[in-house]
Symmetry: C2
Subunit: 400 residues, 2 copies
């Protein structure tokens, strides 16, 4: 069990309001800050974005945020004008539950696209969640559970930055959900990070964007960037009211990046129907962005993903996928390792022990791919899942 260290000045709850059919499953979550917090956010680039994304995007970066409400089972996307009114009402109800005014709330919704929120259940749910707010671990875990869809575990990471002469101790905690429709480009499906440090809103926005770029933007499950991807950061200054600058800010940034990476990897590690978490290192590129594009192409390739599922050392699919990424390179300078085995070196295939490579895939939940392009020194790490028959089963009857 991981140690849970919660930032000061926040309270949490998650309750069942009837969105999920099983009464023991939580389906709506509330996070409130006892004082106005600076808020930053990064969101899906999908043109077809949910109503909650439209509301939040119009508000952050800003100061004064008091609450974030999130629900599962309904994404409130493709819901037209009524959807926008509903998202606005949810944010207002959450903010008022925290003692704030309507525009001090933020909102996140996840689930089926194209259905309307049952607002009677949502209103009752927010009122109920407001009555159960707690600053402790169980409140935090309930909040992480209330936004779960096909996730099999709640996902959170907490960290602290120790006190020194320059600043007191700070804490930073993040929670997220997501197991499918995962290929974030600016953020991922519903993640909230809270800290009791103080940050200028624009600084918070920059730090969050940079951290997302090396974490949530480096995972994919099925290549589908959802309508609802939302990553929020609240900084309420409960530990120290002076916005961070200089060395303490750099330390905060590093910790935020670690936290985002650990949180992001939990998503493919719990990918729908997945039997492998695949870590893809792309090295030797002229630019980091090149490495990322090649990594994503491999990570989204159905043929690579099914081969790993079947423990089939069909490595040609990995090299072939890299060649279709649109990044120029010389195929005669490409090398590939799989789970440490050398399979392809400088454009020539190497003899290898098929049984040993196959066993190394079959016997572990983790598969490691290292593809080296001979064009430079930049590298990137990316994470994905295998593609299994169970994934197909789960996704072939989601709404029926």
């Amino acid at each position: 069990m991981q140690e849970i260290i919660l930032p000061k000045g926040y309270r949490f709850s998650g309750v069942h309001c009837g969105l999920k059919s099983a009464p023991e499953l939580l389906d709506i979550s509330l996070i409130v800050s006892d004082r106005p917090a600076a808020a930053a956010g990064v969101f899906t680039p999908n043109l077809v974005c949910g109503a909650p994304v439209q509301i939040d995007r119009s508000r952050v970066p800003c100061t004064g945020i008091r609450a974030v409400v999130g629900n599962s089972r309904c994404a409130n996307a493709c819901t037209g004008e009524q959807g926008l009114r509903d998202a606005e009402e949810m944010a207002a109800l959450a903010a008022k539950a925290a003692g704030g005014t309507a525009e001090q709330g933020l909102v996140m919704s996840t689930g089926v696209i194209g259905t309307m929120l049952p607002m009677d259940k949502i209103r009752k749910g927010i009122a109920d969640a407001a009555g159960k707010l707690a600053a402790d671990e169980s409140g935090f875990i309930n909040a992480a559970q209330g936004i779960m869809t096909t996730d099999t575990v709640e996902k959170f990471v907490t960290k602290k930055i120790s006190a020194c002469a320059a600043h007191p101790e700070f804490r930073i905690a993040g929670l997220c959900k997501g197991a499918a429709m995962i290929a974030p480009h600016l953020a991922t499906m519903l993640a909230v990070i809270i800290t009791d440090a103080a940050l200028e809103p624009q600084t918070a926005q920059t730090l969050l964007k940079n951290a997302a770029d090396i974490s949530f933007n480096c995972i994919t499950i099925d290549g589908h960037t959802s309508t609802s991807d939302t990553l929020l950061l609240l900084a309420n200054g409960a530990a120290s009211e002076t916005p961070l600058t200089g060395e303490p800010l750099r330390q905060f940034e590093k910790t935020l990046q670690e936290l985002c990476t650990e949180l992001a990897v939990k998503i493919p590690a719990d990918g729908e129907g997945a039997s492998h978490l695949i870590t893809i290192d792309i090295a030797g590129c002229a630019a980091k962005e090149d490495a990322k594009i090649i990594a994503r192409k491999i990570a989204e390739d159905a043929l690579v993903k099914t081969a790993i599922y079947g423990a089939d050392p069909n490595w040609g699919r990995i090299v072939s996928a890299s060649g279709t990424a649109g990044i120029p390179y010389d195929p005669r300078k490409v090398s590939l390792k799989l789970n440490g085995f050398d399979l392809f070196k400088n454009g020539e295939p190497l003899p290898f022990d098929k049984v040993a490579v196959s066993s190394s895939i079959r016997d572990s939940r983790n598969t490691f791919i290292l593809l080296t392009i001979g064009e430079g020194t930049e590298s990137v790490r990316f994470w994905t899942t295998d593609l299994t028959a169970e994934y197909v089963r789960l996704n072939s009857d989601y709404t029926t």
Copy 2:
């Protein structure tokens, strides 16, 4: 059974040379032209392209081609310098079997990437195939079978252009293979088209490229553009030696486009493990290329493909996928029909009969999607398959 009309001046064969384990399965094909033919070709844009692609690309467009040899089970890709020597030898052996010189041959290989061709079997196979060449239907069908991998049926289309005052009767015949690693961008996995009309090589190249753009470039099964995509056109002038111009050329172009489209659709119709052929019409775009990019994004989406497999009318996934294509549009002007049912109109969800829509998907092998963007008048038609548990099974143990 479709009527088979073969162009004059060509002979065909397909034999078993031991690449496939079952002795009744053909695995190497030979097509010869009894006279030198003009040849055009379009090939995979994958940087990691097979040795045969490198050889053919260096030769076409040209005149003087006498033979095309193709094999299955081994793609001769990622095979370094030895692979190039092997491909060159194959093309030379084929050309010599037709009575030509080494550089008058073309070559195509499909199968596993990263393994060397067993050249002893290949040499024996080409000699054997040369002895069995025939100008009749059975020779043609054998040639179509010799390049099959996981295809369940041989794929060919033949057409004739009737005689008129301006020209005699011409015939045009095409064969292709492909059931996975299918997302051609310039051509598809191994297709050959032959005609007894005469064409200037540059004209042949232009016609072939244009026809590929609306046919082979509008299909996808798994989004993986292979190392080996090759589409060749031979025009030997056996029906009339004067290269086509004017109205006869326009008629030839139209027939070629129809033939390429019919041939291309046979590939997703036989997609690995597929239970549905999905036809995607994208209308109302500012440019054809915009429509094609949106169509491809939907066609490659695992969530859309699994929903169709499960007959789940989870239409939000289709609209959401379109929003991630990178083509700007106003989501409030988007409408969607599925199998003729109106589901989403001008950005607002419509009430619909879930059972009726689900049945319409379940009860037919064909699913029709029409997505209308309100940005213009350009449209495109695209074809893909659903994603099934059988696809995952087939692709998880391909080399082991």
